[in-house]
Symmetry: C2
Subunit: 248 residues, 2 copies
Amino acid sequence: MKLTLIGIGTGNPDHLTLEAVRAINAQDLILIPRKGEGKADLAELRHEICAEVLTNSETKIVEFDLPVRDEATLDYRKRVDDWHDAIAQVWAQTIAAHPGAERAALLVWGDPSLYDSTLRIASRLNPQPQMQVIAGITSLQALTAAHAIPINEIGAPFVVTTGRRLRDEGWPAGVDTAAIMLDGACAFQDLPGDQFYIWWGGYVGMREQIICAGPLHEVCDKIIRMRADARAAHGWIMDIYVLRKLSD
Amino acid sequence: MKLTLIGIGTGNPDHLTLEAVRAINAQDLILIPRKGEGKADLAELRHEICAEVLTNSETKIVEFDLPVRDEATLDYRKRVDDWHDAIAQVWAQTIAAHPGAERAALLVWGDPSLYDSTLRIASRLNPQPQMQVIAGITSLQALTAAHAIPINEIGAPFVVTTGRRLRDEGWPAGVDTAAIMLDGACAFQDLPGDQFYIWWGGYVGMREQIICAGPLHEVCDKIIRMRADARAAHGWIMDIYVLRKLSD
Protein backbone atom coordinates (compact mmCIF):
# COMPACT_ATOMS: atom_id res chain seq x y z
CA MET A 1 0.00 0.00 0.00
CA LYS A 2 1.25 3.45 -0.88
CA LEU A 3 -0.21 6.53 0.82
CA THR A 4 0.42 9.92 -0.74
CA LEU A 5 -0.16 13.18 1.12
CA ILE A 6 -0.72 15.88 -1.45
CA GLY A 7 -0.30 19.51 -0.40
CA ILE A 8 -3.03 21.51 -2.17
CA GLY A 9 -2.20 25.05 -1.08
CA THR A 10 -4.57 27.38 0.71
CA GLY A 11 -7.89 27.31 -1.07
CA ASN A 12 -6.91 28.62 -4.47
CA PRO A 13 -7.16 25.61 -6.82
CA ASP A 14 -4.36 27.24 -8.85
CA HIS A 15 -1.99 26.67 -5.90
CA LEU A 16 -1.81 23.05 -7.03
CA THR A 17 1.56 22.10 -8.47
CA LEU A 18 1.92 20.08 -11.65
CA GLU A 19 3.39 17.37 -9.39
CA ALA A 20 0.19 17.39 -7.31
CA VAL A 21 -1.95 17.13 -10.47
CA ARG A 22 0.07 14.09 -11.59
CA ALA A 23 -0.13 12.55 -8.11
CA ILE A 24 -3.91 12.97 -7.97
CA ASN A 25 -4.21 11.17 -11.29
CA ALA A 26 -1.93 8.33 -10.17
CA GLN A 27 -4.24 7.19 -7.34
CA ASP A 28 -6.74 4.40 -6.96
CA LEU A 29 -8.45 6.28 -4.12
CA ILE A 30 -8.68 9.91 -3.06
CA LEU A 31 -9.94 10.10 0.53
CA ILE A 32 -11.97 13.20 1.39
CA PRO A 33 -13.00 13.87 5.01
CA ARG A 34 -16.52 15.04 5.82
CA LYS A 35 -17.03 16.91 9.08
CA GLY A 36 -20.80 17.06 9.12
CA GLU A 37 -23.40 19.67 8.20
CA GLY A 38 -22.54 23.31 8.49
CA LYS A 39 -18.86 22.87 9.28
CA ALA A 40 -16.20 24.45 7.09
CA ASP A 41 -14.77 21.07 6.19
CA LEU A 42 -13.22 22.09 2.90
CA ALA A 43 -14.76 18.95 1.36
CA GLU A 44 -16.25 21.17 -1.32
CA LEU A 45 -12.86 22.67 -2.19
CA ARG A 46 -11.33 19.21 -2.43
CA HIS A 47 -14.13 18.02 -4.74
CA GLU A 48 -13.69 21.17 -6.82
CA ILE A 49 -9.97 20.47 -7.17
CA CYS A 50 -10.62 16.87 -8.23
CA ALA A 51 -13.29 17.98 -10.71
CA GLU A 52 -10.79 20.39 -12.23
CA VAL A 53 -7.70 18.19 -12.56
CA LEU A 54 -8.72 14.54 -12.28
CA THR A 55 -8.73 12.90 -15.71
CA ASN A 56 -8.03 9.29 -14.68
CA SER A 57 -11.39 7.48 -14.76
CA GLU A 58 -9.94 4.68 -12.61
CA THR A 59 -9.45 7.02 -9.65
CA LYS A 60 -12.26 6.77 -7.09
CA ILE A 61 -13.12 9.67 -4.81
CA VAL A 62 -14.24 8.33 -1.45
CA GLU A 63 -15.65 10.38 1.41
CA PHE A 64 -15.28 9.36 5.03
CA ASP A 65 -16.77 10.80 8.21
CA LEU A 66 -14.11 12.53 10.25
CA PRO A 67 -14.36 11.34 13.87
CA VAL A 68 -15.04 14.09 16.40
CA ARG A 69 -12.78 14.79 19.34
CA ASP A 70 -14.09 13.51 22.65
CA GLU A 71 -14.33 16.71 24.64
CA ALA A 72 -15.00 14.61 27.77
CA THR A 73 -11.28 13.69 27.72
CA LEU A 74 -9.85 16.48 29.81
CA ASP A 75 -6.17 16.06 29.05
CA TYR A 76 -5.50 17.97 25.81
CA ARG A 77 -2.68 15.75 24.60
CA LYS A 78 -4.62 12.54 25.26
CA ARG A 79 -7.73 14.01 23.60
CA VAL A 80 -5.73 14.72 20.43
CA ASP A 81 -3.93 11.35 20.57
CA ASP A 82 -7.22 9.45 20.85
CA TRP A 83 -8.66 11.51 18.02
CA HIS A 84 -5.69 10.79 15.75
CA ASP A 85 -6.01 7.07 16.56
CA ALA A 86 -9.67 7.20 15.56
CA ILE A 87 -8.89 9.00 12.30
CA ALA A 88 -6.20 6.48 11.39
CA GLN A 89 -8.74 3.71 12.01
CA VAL A 90 -11.31 5.33 9.73
CA TRP A 91 -8.69 5.73 6.99
CA ALA A 92 -7.79 2.05 7.31
CA GLN A 93 -11.45 0.99 7.15
CA THR A 94 -12.16 3.24 4.18
CA ILE A 95 -9.18 1.87 2.26
CA ALA A 96 -10.06 -1.73 3.24
CA ALA A 97 -13.55 -1.23 1.82
CA HIS A 98 -11.92 -0.99 -1.61
CA PRO A 99 -10.00 -4.22 -2.07
CA GLY A 100 -7.49 -4.00 -4.85
CA ALA A 101 -6.75 -0.35 -4.20
CA GLU A 102 -2.99 -0.03 -3.91
CA ARG A 103 -2.52 3.71 -3.96
CA ALA A 104 -4.52 6.12 -1.83
CA ALA A 105 -4.08 9.84 -1.25
CA LEU A 106 -5.25 12.59 1.05
CA LEU A 107 -5.43 16.22 -0.06
CA VAL A 108 -3.75 18.27 2.64
CA TRP A 109 -4.46 21.97 3.17
CA GLY A 110 -1.23 23.94 2.69
CA ASP A 111 1.80 21.66 2.97
CA PRO A 112 1.93 18.41 4.98
CA SER A 113 5.08 19.63 6.79
CA LEU A 114 3.68 22.74 8.46
CA TYR A 115 1.36 22.63 11.49
CA ASP A 116 -0.54 19.71 10.03
CA SER A 117 -1.35 16.37 11.66
CA THR A 118 -1.75 14.17 8.60
CA LEU A 119 1.78 12.72 8.75
CA ARG A 120 1.38 11.97 12.47
CA ILE A 121 -1.94 10.23 11.86
CA ALA A 122 -0.45 8.24 8.98
CA SER A 123 2.36 7.00 11.24
CA ARG A 124 -0.30 5.16 13.30
CA LEU A 125 -1.36 2.95 10.39
CA ASN A 126 -0.51 -0.71 10.81
CA PRO A 127 0.91 -2.08 8.58
CA GLN A 128 2.75 1.15 7.78
CA PRO A 129 2.13 2.12 4.14
CA GLN A 130 4.89 3.43 1.92
CA MET A 131 4.62 7.21 2.42
CA GLN A 132 4.98 9.89 -0.24
CA VAL A 133 4.64 13.63 0.32
CA ILE A 134 3.93 16.23 -2.36
CA ALA A 135 4.76 19.74 -1.17
CA GLY A 136 2.12 22.46 -1.42
CA ILE A 137 1.97 26.23 -1.03
CA THR A 138 1.60 27.19 2.66
CA SER A 139 -0.50 29.99 4.11
CA LEU A 140 2.78 31.67 5.11
CA GLN A 141 3.83 31.80 1.46
CA ALA A 142 0.37 32.96 0.39
CA LEU A 143 0.71 35.77 2.97
CA THR A 144 4.17 36.92 1.88
CA ALA A 145 3.09 36.70 -1.79
CA ALA A 146 -0.02 38.81 -1.10
CA HIS A 147 2.12 41.49 0.55
CA ALA A 148 5.01 41.01 -1.93
CA ILE A 149 7.55 40.83 0.91
CA PRO A 150 10.51 38.61 1.74
CA ILE A 151 10.03 36.96 5.11
CA ASN A 152 13.66 37.23 6.21
CA GLU A 153 15.97 40.19 6.33
CA ILE A 154 19.29 39.61 4.52
CA GLY A 155 21.02 36.61 6.10
CA ALA A 156 18.81 36.89 9.18
CA PRO A 157 16.83 34.15 10.91
CA PHE A 158 13.11 34.04 11.62
CA VAL A 159 10.81 32.00 13.83
CA VAL A 160 7.56 30.33 12.90
CA THR A 161 5.37 29.90 15.95
CA THR A 162 1.79 29.94 17.22
CA GLY A 163 -0.48 32.59 18.69
CA ARG A 164 -0.58 30.66 21.95
CA ARG A 165 3.24 30.72 22.27
CA LEU A 166 3.40 34.43 21.48
CA ARG A 167 0.77 35.15 24.14
CA ASP A 168 2.26 32.85 26.80
CA GLU A 169 5.97 33.36 26.19
CA GLY A 170 6.21 36.81 24.64
CA TRP A 171 8.43 37.76 21.74
CA PRO A 172 10.72 34.84 20.71
CA ALA A 173 14.40 35.14 21.62
CA GLY A 174 17.13 35.86 19.10
CA VAL A 175 15.05 36.98 16.11
CA ASP A 176 13.58 40.20 14.73
CA THR A 177 11.02 38.42 12.54
CA ALA A 178 8.30 35.95 13.49
CA ALA A 179 5.48 34.34 11.52
CA ILE A 180 2.48 33.58 13.72
CA MET A 181 0.06 30.77 12.87
CA LEU A 182 -3.00 29.30 14.60
CA ASP A 183 -3.86 32.50 16.46
CA GLY A 184 -7.54 32.71 17.29
CA ALA A 185 -7.10 35.57 19.73
CA CYS A 186 -5.01 38.29 18.07
CA ALA A 187 -1.99 37.77 20.35
CA PHE A 188 -0.24 40.66 18.55
CA GLN A 189 -2.33 43.12 20.56
CA ASP A 190 -0.30 42.38 23.69
CA LEU A 191 2.97 43.52 22.10
CA PRO A 192 4.28 47.10 22.40
CA GLY A 193 2.76 48.39 19.17
CA ASP A 194 5.35 51.08 18.50
CA GLN A 195 8.14 48.49 18.29
CA PHE A 196 6.71 46.27 15.55
CA TYR A 197 5.56 46.24 11.95
CA ILE A 198 2.85 43.72 11.02
CA TRP A 199 1.78 42.11 7.74
CA TRP A 200 -1.55 40.40 8.33
CA GLY A 201 -3.86 38.38 6.10
CA GLY A 202 -7.11 36.47 6.33
CA TYR A 203 -8.13 33.71 3.88
CA VAL A 204 -4.77 34.21 2.14
CA GLY A 205 -4.72 32.84 -1.37
CA MET A 206 -8.52 32.52 -1.49
CA ARG A 207 -11.06 34.67 -3.28
CA GLU A 208 -12.05 36.09 0.14
CA GLN A 209 -8.47 37.25 0.85
CA ILE A 210 -8.12 40.39 2.98
CA ILE A 211 -4.78 41.90 3.97
CA CYS A 212 -3.51 44.78 6.06
CA ALA A 213 0.01 45.97 6.88
CA GLY A 214 1.59 48.81 8.83
CA PRO A 215 3.22 49.84 12.10
CA LEU A 216 1.48 47.68 14.69
CA HIS A 217 0.27 50.59 16.83
CA GLU A 218 -1.38 52.14 13.76
CA VAL A 219 -3.15 49.06 12.36
CA CYS A 220 -3.71 46.86 15.44
CA ASP A 221 -7.30 47.94 16.05
CA LYS A 222 -8.09 47.94 12.35
CA ILE A 223 -6.93 44.33 11.97
CA ILE A 224 -8.95 43.22 15.01
CA ARG A 225 -12.01 44.87 13.47
CA MET A 226 -11.39 43.48 9.96
CA ARG A 227 -10.94 40.02 11.44
CA ALA A 228 -14.14 40.18 13.51
CA ASP A 229 -16.20 41.54 10.60
CA ALA A 230 -14.90 38.91 8.17
CA ARG A 231 -15.48 36.13 10.66
CA ALA A 232 -19.05 37.30 11.19
CA ALA A 233 -19.64 37.54 7.44
CA HIS A 234 -18.16 34.15 6.47
CA GLY A 235 -18.83 32.17 9.66
CA TRP A 236 -15.13 31.23 9.97
CA ILE A 237 -11.71 32.73 9.47
CA MET A 238 -8.15 31.51 9.00
CA ASP A 239 -5.54 34.18 9.41
CA ILE A 240 -1.78 34.48 9.71
CA TYR A 241 0.73 37.28 10.14
CA VAL A 242 4.37 38.24 10.12
CA LEU A 243 5.78 40.62 12.74
CA ARG A 244 9.09 42.42 12.45
CA LYS A 245 10.77 44.22 15.32
CA LEU A 246 11.71 47.74 14.30
CA SER A 247 15.32 48.79 14.81
CA ASP A 248 15.83 51.11 17.77
CA MET B 1 4.47 48.42 -15.87
CA LYS B 2 3.73 45.24 -13.95
CA LEU B 3 6.56 43.01 -12.72
CA THR B 4 5.71 39.47 -11.62
CA LEU B 5 8.10 37.34 -9.60
CA ILE B 6 7.19 33.73 -10.20
CA GLY B 7 8.39 31.09 -7.73
CA ILE B 8 9.36 28.03 -9.77
CA GLY B 9 10.33 25.59 -7.01
CA THR B 10 13.65 23.86 -6.72
CA GLY B 11 14.59 22.46 -10.09
CA ASN B 12 11.77 20.00 -10.66
CA PRO B 13 9.65 21.55 -13.43
CA ASP B 14 6.66 19.80 -11.82
CA HIS B 15 7.07 22.07 -8.77
CA LEU B 16 5.41 24.78 -10.86
CA THR B 17 1.92 25.67 -9.65
CA LEU B 18 -1.02 26.11 -12.02
CA GLU B 19 -0.93 29.77 -10.93
CA ALA B 20 2.70 30.01 -12.08
CA VAL B 21 1.82 28.41 -15.43
CA ARG B 22 -0.96 30.99 -15.93
CA ALA B 23 1.34 33.82 -14.87
CA ILE B 24 4.06 32.74 -17.31
CA ASN B 25 1.52 32.79 -20.10
CA ALA B 26 0.23 36.23 -19.13
CA GLN B 27 3.55 38.00 -19.73
CA ASP B 28 4.91 40.12 -22.55
CA LEU B 29 8.47 39.37 -21.41
CA ILE B 30 10.13 36.63 -19.40
CA LEU B 31 13.58 37.78 -18.25
CA ILE B 32 16.18 35.04 -17.88
CA PRO B 33 19.59 35.83 -16.35
CA ARG B 34 22.77 34.46 -17.92
CA LYS B 35 25.83 34.19 -15.71
CA GLY B 36 28.44 33.32 -18.30
CA GLU B 37 30.03 30.12 -19.53
CA GLY B 38 30.42 27.24 -17.16
CA LYS B 39 28.44 28.71 -14.28
CA ALA B 40 25.40 26.90 -12.88
CA ASP B 41 23.10 29.74 -13.82
CA LEU B 42 19.91 27.70 -14.05
CA ALA B 43 19.20 29.45 -17.35
CA GLU B 44 18.74 26.02 -18.90
CA LEU B 45 16.16 25.02 -16.30
CA ARG B 46 14.24 28.24 -16.85
CA HIS B 47 14.24 27.70 -20.62
CA GLU B 48 13.11 24.11 -20.08
CA ILE B 49 10.22 25.31 -17.92
CA CYS B 50 9.16 27.86 -20.53
CA ALA B 51 9.41 25.26 -23.29
CA GLU B 52 7.15 23.00 -21.28
CA VAL B 53 4.38 25.38 -20.21
CA LEU B 54 4.52 28.51 -22.39
CA THR B 55 1.73 28.41 -24.98
CA ASN B 56 1.27 32.17 -25.51
CA SER B 57 3.07 33.03 -28.75
CA GLU B 58 3.06 36.71 -27.78
CA THR B 59 5.34 36.10 -24.79
CA LYS B 60 8.98 36.87 -25.52
CA ILE B 61 11.80 35.16 -23.63
CA VAL B 62 14.67 37.59 -23.18
CA GLU B 63 18.08 36.77 -21.74
CA PHE B 64 20.20 39.35 -19.97
CA ASP B 65 23.77 39.18 -18.66
CA LEU B 66 23.81 39.13 -14.90
CA PRO B 67 26.30 41.71 -13.61
CA VAL B 68 29.13 40.30 -11.51
CA ARG B 69 29.87 41.43 -7.98
CA ASP B 70 32.82 43.75 -7.70
CA GLU B 71 35.08 41.77 -5.38
CA ALA B 72 37.31 44.86 -5.09
CA THR B 73 34.62 46.41 -2.85
CA LEU B 74 35.73 45.18 0.54
CA ASP B 75 32.63 45.94 2.58
CA TYR B 76 30.26 42.97 2.12
CA ARG B 77 27.07 44.96 2.49
CA LYS B 78 28.19 47.66 0.05
CA ARG B 79 29.37 45.01 -2.40
CA VAL B 80 25.91 43.39 -2.39
CA ASP B 81 24.12 46.76 -2.52
CA ASP B 82 26.13 47.87 -5.55
CA TRP B 83 25.52 44.55 -7.22
CA HIS B 84 21.76 44.76 -6.65
CA ASP B 85 21.78 48.30 -8.08
CA ALA B 86 23.55 47.00 -11.17
CA ILE B 87 21.06 44.15 -11.60
CA ALA B 88 18.08 46.50 -11.28
CA GLN B 89 19.66 48.68 -13.96
CA VAL B 90 20.08 45.73 -16.34
CA TRP B 91 16.46 44.72 -15.79
CA ALA B 92 15.32 48.25 -16.57
CA GLN B 93 17.46 48.37 -19.74
CA THR B 94 16.26 44.94 -20.88
CA ILE B 95 12.62 45.90 -20.43
CA ALA B 96 13.17 49.31 -22.08
CA ALA B 97 14.60 47.53 -25.13
CA HIS B 98 11.10 46.14 -25.73
CA PRO B 99 8.83 49.15 -26.03
CA GLY B 100 5.18 48.23 -25.65
CA ALA B 101 5.92 45.50 -23.13
CA GLU B 102 3.67 46.10 -20.15
CA ARG B 103 4.11 42.89 -18.20
CA ALA B 104 7.44 41.32 -17.41
CA ALA B 105 8.33 38.42 -15.15
CA LEU B 106 11.32 36.79 -13.52
CA LEU B 107 11.41 33.10 -12.67
CA VAL B 108 12.62 32.83 -9.09
CA TRP B 109 14.23 29.67 -7.68
CA GLY B 110 12.13 28.39 -4.76
CA ASP B 111 9.84 31.14 -3.44
CA PRO B 112 10.53 34.88 -3.71
CA SER B 113 9.96 35.26 0.06
CA LEU B 114 12.73 32.98 1.35
CA TYR B 115 16.41 33.97 1.29
CA ASP B 116 16.06 35.48 -2.15
CA SER B 117 17.08 38.96 -3.32
CA THR B 118 14.70 39.44 -6.22
CA LEU B 119 12.16 41.49 -4.25
CA ARG B 120 14.93 43.72 -2.86
CA ILE B 121 16.35 44.28 -6.34
CA ALA B 122 12.88 45.05 -7.71
CA SER B 123 12.36 47.71 -5.02
CA ARG B 124 15.24 49.69 -6.61
CA LEU B 125 13.41 50.12 -9.92
CA ASN B 126 12.39 53.66 -10.68
CA PRO B 127 9.56 54.16 -11.48
CA GLN B 128 8.43 51.38 -9.18
CA PRO B 129 6.45 48.81 -11.16
CA GLN B 130 3.30 47.22 -9.83
CA MET B 131 4.60 44.11 -8.08
CA GLN B 132 3.02 40.66 -8.10
CA VAL B 133 4.41 37.57 -6.39
CA ILE B 134 3.49 33.96 -7.22
CA ALA B 135 4.51 31.59 -4.43
CA GLY B 136 6.65 28.57 -5.25
CA ILE B 137 7.80 25.41 -3.48
CA THR B 138 10.88 26.13 -1.34
CA SER B 139 13.89 23.89 -0.81
CA LEU B 140 12.77 23.54 2.82
CA GLN B 141 9.48 22.02 1.64
CA ALA B 142 11.26 19.82 -0.90
CA LEU B 143 13.45 18.59 1.98
CA THR B 144 10.58 17.80 4.36
CA ALA B 145 8.64 16.15 1.50
CA ALA B 146 11.64 13.98 0.58
CA HIS B 147 11.94 12.80 4.19
CA ALA B 148 8.12 12.71 4.70
CA ILE B 149 8.43 14.64 7.97
CA PRO B 150 6.59 17.55 9.56
CA ILE B 151 8.98 20.38 10.33
CA ASN B 152 7.40 21.36 13.63
CA GLU B 153 6.54 19.29 16.67
CA ILE B 154 2.92 19.68 17.79
CA GLY B 155 2.26 23.36 18.59
CA ALA B 156 6.01 24.00 18.79
CA PRO B 157 8.02 26.78 17.10
CA PHE B 158 10.99 26.41 14.77
CA VAL B 159 13.69 28.71 13.44
CA VAL B 160 14.85 29.10 9.88
CA THR B 161 18.41 30.37 9.79
CA THR B 162 21.72 30.17 7.93
CA GLY B 163 24.83 28.03 8.28
CA ARG B 164 26.84 31.14 9.11
CA ARG B 165 24.55 32.00 12.04
CA LEU B 166 24.62 28.45 13.36
CA ARG B 167 28.42 28.45 13.22
CA ASP B 168 28.86 31.93 14.72
CA GLU B 169 26.04 31.99 17.28
CA GLY B 170 25.47 28.32 18.14
CA TRP B 171 22.11 26.68 18.56
CA PRO B 172 19.26 29.23 18.35
CA ALA B 173 17.50 30.11 21.60
CA GLY B 174 14.03 28.94 22.51
CA VAL B 175 13.51 26.22 19.90
CA ASP B 176 14.17 22.50 19.51
CA THR B 177 13.94 22.57 15.71
CA ALA B 178 15.93 24.60 13.20
CA ALA B 179 16.09 24.56 9.41
CA ILE B 180 19.50 25.59 8.11
CA MET B 181 19.93 27.17 4.70
CA LEU B 182 22.90 28.59 2.80
CA ASP B 183 25.46 26.46 4.59
CA GLY B 184 28.57 25.90 2.50
CA ALA B 185 30.60 24.54 5.41
CA CYS B 186 28.58 21.83 7.21
CA ALA B 187 28.07 23.92 10.37
CA PHE B 188 26.23 20.96 11.92
CA GLN B 189 29.57 19.27 12.59
CA ASP B 190 30.28 21.73 15.42
CA LEU B 191 27.18 20.68 17.40
CA PRO B 192 27.26 17.95 20.06
CA GLY B 193 26.22 15.08 17.80
CA ASP B 194 24.57 12.97 20.47
CA GLN B 195 22.02 15.71 21.19
CA PHE B 196 20.56 16.15 17.71
CA TYR B 197 18.75 14.36 14.92
CA ILE B 198 19.38 15.60 11.37
CA TRP B 199 17.43 15.36 8.13
CA TRP B 200 19.74 16.43 5.31
CA GLY B 201 19.25 16.75 1.56
CA GLY B 202 21.21 17.86 -1.47
CA TYR B 203 19.60 18.98 -4.76
CA VAL B 204 16.21 18.46 -3.08
CA GLY B 205 13.37 18.13 -5.55
CA MET B 206 15.77 17.58 -8.47
CA ARG B 207 16.64 14.39 -10.31
CA GLU B 208 20.03 14.47 -8.54
CA GLN B 209 18.37 14.48 -5.08
CA ILE B 210 20.31 12.73 -2.29
CA ILE B 211 19.10 12.54 1.31
CA CYS B 212 20.32 11.20 4.61
CA ALA B 213 18.79 11.23 8.10
CA GLY B 214 19.70 9.94 11.53
CA PRO B 215 21.16 10.79 14.92
CA LEU B 216 23.74 13.47 14.15
CA HIS B 217 26.67 11.62 15.72
CA GLU B 218 25.89 8.59 13.54
CA VAL B 219 25.45 10.31 10.17
CA CYS B 220 27.57 13.47 10.47
CA ASP B 221 30.64 12.06 8.71
CA LYS B 222 28.53 10.26 6.14
CA ILE B 223 26.75 13.49 5.18
CA ILE B 224 30.03 15.40 4.90
CA ARG B 225 31.32 12.65 2.60
CA MET B 226 28.10 12.46 0.51
CA ARG B 227 28.18 16.23 0.13
CA ALA B 228 31.83 16.33 -0.96
CA ASP B 229 31.38 13.44 -3.41
CA ALA B 230 28.24 14.95 -4.96
CA ARG B 231 29.86 18.36 -5.24
CA ALA B 232 32.86 16.83 -6.99
CA ALA B 233 30.62 14.85 -9.34
CA HIS B 234 28.26 17.70 -10.30
CA GLY B 235 30.58 20.69 -9.92
CA TRP B 236 28.13 22.40 -7.54
CA ILE B 237 25.78 21.59 -4.69
CA MET B 238 22.83 23.15 -2.94
CA ASP B 239 21.91 21.52 0.31
CA ILE B 240 19.68 22.15 3.29
CA TYR B 241 18.88 20.42 6.54
CA VAL B 242 16.62 20.31 9.55
CA LEU B 243 18.03 19.67 13.03
CA ARG B 244 15.98 18.63 16.04
CA LYS B 245 17.28 18.66 19.58
CA LEU B 246 16.62 15.34 21.28
CA SER B 247 14.81 15.39 24.60
CA ASP B 248 17.05 14.78 27.60
